[in-house]
Amino acid sequence: MSATLTPPAAAPPTPDQPGRDGPGRSIASIPRWAWALGVVVLWVGIWALTKGTDTLALAGREHTDVQTSLGRFRDDVLAGRADNPVIQLTYDLGAWFTSVVDWLQRMLSVPDFPRPVPQVGWLGVTAVATWVGLAVAGWRIAVLVAASFVSFGVFGYWSEAIDLLIVTFVAVGVSVLIGMPLAVLVGTGNRAVNAVTNTVLDIFQTMPTFVYLLPIVLFFGIGAAGAVVCTLVYALPPIIRIAGHGIRNVSTTTIEATDSAGQTWWQRLTKVQLPMARKTIVVGLNQTIMAALSMATIASYVDGPGLGQPVLDALVKNDVGGAFVPGALIVVMAVMLDRSTTAASEYSEMAARGGLDLRLRRIVLAAAAVPVLVALHLSRTYPWAAELDDPGWTPKVADAVDGFFEWFTDTFRDATQAFKDLVSAVLLNPLQSLLSESPWWLAGGAILALAFVVGGLRAVAPTVVCLGGLLYFGLWHDAMVTLNMTLVGTVLVMLLAVVLGVAMARSRAVDVVLRPTLDAGQTIPPFVYLIPVLALFGPTRFTAIVAGVVYAAPVAIKLVADGVRAVSPSTIEAGRSTGSTRWQEIVKVQLPMARASLVLAANQGLLYVLAMAVIGGLVGAGALGYDVVLGFARSEEWGKGAAAGISIVLLGIMVDRIARAAAHRSGAPAAR
């Protein structure tokens, strides 16, 4: 979701700011890490004495009053369906989305009674998609599109794949309809408008995908409606933010120059601002499509149609082989969509620059339309063109994958087990007992103190509010367990990010090899990451953590690499001229000067790992994620599930705000 993250320029080391912002440097010269250490030592000391008391652990079937009333709220909403105008409106909207998706499905992916097949069959859809690829992005993309569509068919997931595309594109369409006017507002509006939208979008983007599902399903119902709404809500922020940014950054000289020619507001928007921001707007569209795809797969959890369903079914059964093929097809689809939109933007730029022979292009497209029409006709007429025979490859592949992982886990059991044990013994277990076995007042106080130490005064208020919220919603203990997984995952992410990021920044060869892999990694929906990790570590909290690390690593590594690379070469040269070793150069020059990027990478890492820790509830990660899952499964647990959802959001906001405050102190822009 963050291919466009702009790394902050390496901040010059800030001189000691005499203390208006927290303790740190102000009280004598005790460094910040010593304060943090002090807090932890004190925490451990009190923990040893009070361990196990007031932990606010809630047994399986227990509910707090707040949770019960949340459940009642849901019952009221459901009961009010008949006469509450708000709920009627949302249900009408949901019904409308359902009918749109349903119509498209009957056109493209499911039998349209009384036909035994959809209106347009396999061959026709593939031909049309290929032609569109040719028209917007050239023949290479057309080949990619054709290959992708064929792969959906031959592996027997044709209708699921097309369903996923339908949900994705309906949601993207609505996102653009809503998002572009808002982007214009953000891009042309005053500061107050920007501040408000930024805050709202920040909160949206802090929320792990999973959390959207519960409330949306309540108001819009399950199935296609809920899936489309979740997807569109999740896909909306990138287009608003990135397109708005592009419009706002159009050169002021050009705007002034064209204003001076006497243009109207509308002429300025359509002839100057939008064309000049086109590239950035397309990047926003790309991000929106990728976000939509990743949410649309997760929406299978609320019975949304698409490729997510076979993955989910297999995941809950711990059937790695079964999840592999649909998971791989999701990756194929992600790569196809990402490459097509990127290439389309380059292609249109080339066309606008006269780099293409437009007449030739028109002739080619017209000529290519003939076989497409023939294919359309065939696919409506002959069964062989309407439905692809399943050659039965999928079960074979599944068996092969199962076999491979069996062999792999057998062979490397000792290694994976040792890694798991090491991380558990060194990080996971000690921190977990400290966080979750401390009395709530101790853990809360310690978190607040640490927030103050790393983030200064700026971090205190959000931390207090979020901790208070966690207490109120009554899932303190589970929240601490989830926080533990998130923190441990983030530590691992940062280890990876620093090692690989520095390597990438210092060696061109490493960068050339690693960067495309990371780029590809960022386009894959998080859901898919669970599959191979599940194979290695089984249904445990450890799977969620490792999947989170894998999910968060690309963005963090790239941020660190770009930050280290941005350190001015003359500073490094100056260091070298004083005779520093390579190690000294990294530790004393490059990393400190890239501090802002490190903090930003940690911030992103935290949020990504948290998102995954929650999805991990599906595969035995427990804690808040499991509470949400249970809330879906049993209606009497709905209140608790909702409380867990809100608690996840509070956790996310808390870690995000602390990290931002820390970034602010180290001079990083609070950009994301």
């Binding site: 000289t253 002034e256 120059a257 064209t258 001076s260 020619a261 006497g262 002839k271 606008a352």
Partner: protein, 357 residues
């Protein structure tokens, strides 16, 4: 360009002015409009900033520009000259005062009137060009015509005429980023000319260019002015440029007018040390006219020397004056108003030689 005398008389009456600026103020900051008229308005820029948090960009500026005149506003960066020129078409909204263009009050114009004024009467050329990177040169030039609603064929034909006027032949279908800085500014110039405005505003148009290209472009402007006789308001921080192009020069400092005058007046009679310091490096023989070096005629003066107009620049007069044994008689119309002898000429030229050593 030295038809300054008849212009001066024209400039005196604002009814005939192409542009008339009266008591124009621009103060940036909160509640800026409340400052004008209070004693605070008289504070210096730094004091005003300290007291109210507002910054005075333009302070009580008034001047008239005659039709066909080249009026240069000169000042260092931060002197408020760019703010001033933007206030003329309300790209920056002035805080107080009035601007009249062809007798139309710009400051009270409605949005539609203002648009009409910008489309048809005033065009502007910018320091950083402000071209549209996604359009070919020809469509950049035609932009002003396009937003007036002119049909594509017609506006392209019209733009094509301007292309050759500014020496862009053969570049119509290039994109701006394929051109050098000088060529890009020619596009900016062409865009401003395409709408056939009566006034052209230039905001430091050549500051971003190399010295040689800058000189070319200055000559281009002089040529265009000679051919088209448009009124021009030219902003610059370069005194040489101001002296070269300007019929009259307005020198600004901290948002205020320091001096308005013809180039020879600014060099020959600077009003204060600030201006004097500014013009101290200028080769005076290139700017001063005979008026500034002549003495009263005496009865014993020879009547055999050459006759020259009092507007003749010293350098141009020097050769003839030194070649003749008799002093030059300086005339205004038919009347002899002064005498310039070799000494007077040499004083200017030699003083300048010394100043440059």
């Amino acid at each position: 360009m030295s038809v300054a005398t008849e212009k001066e008389t024209a400039a005196a009456t604002s009814a005939e002015s192409a542009l008339s600026v009266r008591n124009l103020w621009k103060i940036f900051g909160p509640r800026a409009d409340r400052i004008i008229g209070t004693p605070d308005a008289q504070l210096s820029r730094a004091e005003l900033k300290a007291k109210t948090g507002c910054v005075a960009g333009v302070k009580d500026v008034s001047f008239e520009v005659a039709p066909g005149e080249v009026f240069v506003v000169m000042g260092l960066s931060g002197s408020g000259k760019s703010t001033l020129v933007r206030c003329l078409t309300r790209l920056i909204e002035p805080t107080a005062g009035s601007v009249l263009i062809d007798g139309i009050d710009v400051t009270t114009a409605s949005d539609a009137q203002l648009r009409d004024l910008r489309r048809n009467r005033v065009s502007m050329v910018f320091q950083h060009f402000g071209l549209l990177p996604h359009r070919q040169v020809i469509d950049n030039i035609a932009y002003g015509l396009e937003i007036r609603g002119m049909k594509k064929k017609e506006r392209r034909a019209k733009a094509e005429e301007v292309v050759s006027l500014v020496g862009l032949d053969g570049f119509s279908h290039s994109y701006p980023d394929q051109l050098s800085g000088g060529m890009q500014q020619r596009v900016g110039l062409a865009r401003a000319l395409a709408g056939d405005p009566s006034i052209l505003l230039f905001d430091e148009p050549f500051s971003a260019l190399d010295p040689l290209i800058r000189r070319d472009m200055q000559n281009e402007v002089i040529r265009l002015h000679r051919d088209l006789r448009k009124t021009m308001v030219f902003i610059t921080h370069d005194l040489q440029e101001a002296l070269k192009l300007g019929d009259r020069i307005l020198i600004m400092r901290d948002g205020e007018i320091v001096q308005i005058g013809r180039p020879d007046e600014v060099v020959g009679a600077p009003v204060d040390d600030y201006v004097r310091d500014f013009v101290s490096e200028v080769p005076r023989s290139h700017v001063l006219t005979l008026k500034w070096v002549m003495r009263e005629p005496r009865p014993d003066d020879s009547m055999d020397g050459p006759v020259m107009s009092c507007d003749t620049i010293v350098r141009q007069a020097a050769k003839a004056a030194l070649a003749s044994e008799h002093p030059v008689r300086v005339v205004e119309g038919d009347r002899v108003i002064g005498i310039v002898d070799d000494d007077a000429i040499l004083r200017v030229v030699v003083a300048e030689e010394e100043a440059h050593q």
